[in-house]
Symmetry: C2
Subunit: 350 residues, 2 copies
């Protein structure tokens, strides 16, 4: 089985995905007899390239990382993402354009186009999940293709697939977690005596916070993840606006010191409860004590606890570890896992 | 799709499974168009019953729970498990006979028989996983059937399926966890001032420890779970004897008090590391501090952390919660999940 792959968006995550695919290509071949080539790449600032016979990915990585344009690699002139998708002859389109929390665009259109052309569509972008889950899932089903989005929450670690594959017919009544690493790092550093401003600067310096940290510190990143989880796991469309998050700007060093003296910590807690058909979602700073599974999640560690009708509370924690902090390399694994699962299920059905 | 089910072993877990199937039968029908009937039941002390047209399961539950024999329900005389399997016309055989850590028998033979007859075989019994994983998996593959054992570790909560379904092509290098609830309850109660003897008695009174608590307190239950995890997840046959566990009998109240004063706790820690082809496994009491994800696992809470080449450390924690303590009802969900996954994949492939 050979797969042509199109990469729409070629930032850190997509480039990490390309490298992960190269690193695992022998395993893919020996375990599933799967091979692949890259037939289309679209970037924000370095042009586009299409070659249905396969692009030289090492060369593409080199060009973009040295600030050059991809266009010399292209077999014909092309300069927008929809055209790359259409002319790539891809079997799988990876969508990693910038997140747009308000509309999900242009990712939504890219995924729609790819699915309509009979491609699988896999994304690390939360926008299309929140703004198009039902439509895109229905379209994928009609086309017998997959709309995959494992890497949108918990930075590449399995969460949607855990629920889909390993909890059959369980009813999810509530969940609770820490879903934004940046704010968790800021609160952890403030607990160690750093000011809010310096903690934000630290996050910016290591690349986990953007120049404008609003999206993280005001709770919008957490809120869109909560909306995505509700939309998918509770099969109920939900927006970040409905979550209406409260961020961490109101938390002072004094408050943290006082909490610490009482053996407590502030965490930006995401919590969702379903009562009948009503869903109550909340993202806000909360005091947690050592009896909470959230208490031990420090720095970039994140996690989520699920309550169902069939099992004790089931928690997934993704813990910081040296050299792996939930960055683009790990997000790329979520995209890779979606791809391997697509290939596995196609192999099984042939 | 209609499934005939045989229950080999009809203790707490199997009876909970029967009740769970009844509770979820409408969902099974509406979501997957799956129906089922019970066509064979074999018990340790209440006889056996077979009826290929379907037994009255409510009646069977009533008979056994009031100490009566099942034989009046049987369409013909039958009095051993292999015969029940052979004459049940079952599509799925659930094996829940008592665990035999030394040989895996008779569960191993029951599963072999069922698979050879073209049935799916699903078990909560660790014995056949440790003593027959490769053989039974190969046999199941030949027959295009499933050998399912999700409920053998973490008491029914997903762990094997998480790895199988959601971590494709990840390399597992180590794992660490608390896998035995009984010893964790004992250590938690000792930390609250109870004596070892009284803590054991408490566990016996609520049914989590047997009259002879050796299997739990000397680490053998944890060791067989470790062996099962290594055997399956690292695809390397491993026995509890190779784990050679150290139990908790040597831990005194004095030691626990001293640890507590230093902010530490004793836990019966299971840890496994793979270096090249060598696997080093250990089950022993260890001191953990509050930076460890194991520190917060109290009473019947259990859990496991996985280290792979692709993600930060990924931990699953199953936390005690009122009314759900990882007993037979929850173990039954693991059996149920294996069954639903069998049915789902058969539906998908038709």
């Amino acid at each position: 089985m050979h797969y042509n792959l199109a990469l729409i968006g070629f930032g850190n995550v997509a480039r990490s995905l390309a490298r992960l695919l190269l690193r695992k290509q022998d395993l893919l071949k020996t375990q599933y007899d799967v091979t692949f080539s890259f037939t289309g790449i679209s970037t924000g600032r370095h042009g586009c390239a299409v070659n249905p016979d396969g692009l030289d990915i090492e060369q593409a990585l080199g060009l973009v990382e040295s600030g050059k344009s991809l266009s010399p690699l292209s077999t014909f002139h092309i300069d927008d993402s929809p055209s790359v998708i259409k002319h790539s002859s891809a079997h799988v389109m990876f969508e990693n354009s910038p997140v747009n929390t308000q509309t999900g665009q242009p990712a939504l259109d890219h995924i729609r186009t790819a699915l309509e052309l009979g491609m699988h569509a896999i994304t690390a972008n939360k926008g299309p999940v929140v703004h198009g889950y039902r439509e895109l899932t229905a379209l994928a089903k009609t086309k017998e293709k997959t709309f995959g989005f494992e890497s949108t929450v918990l930075g590449g670690s399995p969460v949607f697939s855990v629920f889909r594959e390993t909890f059959p017919l369980a009813e999810l009544s509530s969940f609770k977690g820490i879903l934004n690493a940046t704010t968790n790092i800021i609160l952890s550093r403030m607990e160690n005596g750093e000011s809010y401003e310096n903690a934000v600067k630290y996050c910016q310096s290591v690349g986990v916070a953007e120049t404008d940290p609003t999206n993280d510190v005001d709770g919008w990143d957490a809120a869109i993840k909560v909306a995505a989880l509700i939309t998918v796991l509770m099969d109920t469309p939900f927006t970040p606006q409905q979550v209406n998050p409260i961020g961490i700007r109101g938390i002072t060093r004094d408050m943290i010191e006082k909490a610490s003296a009482e053996g407590k910590r502030y965490k930006l807690v995401c919590s969702v409860e379903k009562t009948g058909e009503a869903i109550h979602a909340r993202v806000a700073p909360e005091l947690v004590d050592s009896s909470s599974p959230l208490y031990g999640m420090m720095n970039s560690s994140t996690g989520i606890s699920f309550r169902t009708d069939v099992l004790p509370d089931y928690s997934i924690t993704v813990s910081e570890r040296e050299g792996m902090a939930g960055g683009p390399v790990e997000t790329a694994y979520g995209l890779f896992a979606d791809f391997v699962n697509v290939a596995r299920s196609e192999i099984m059905s042939t």
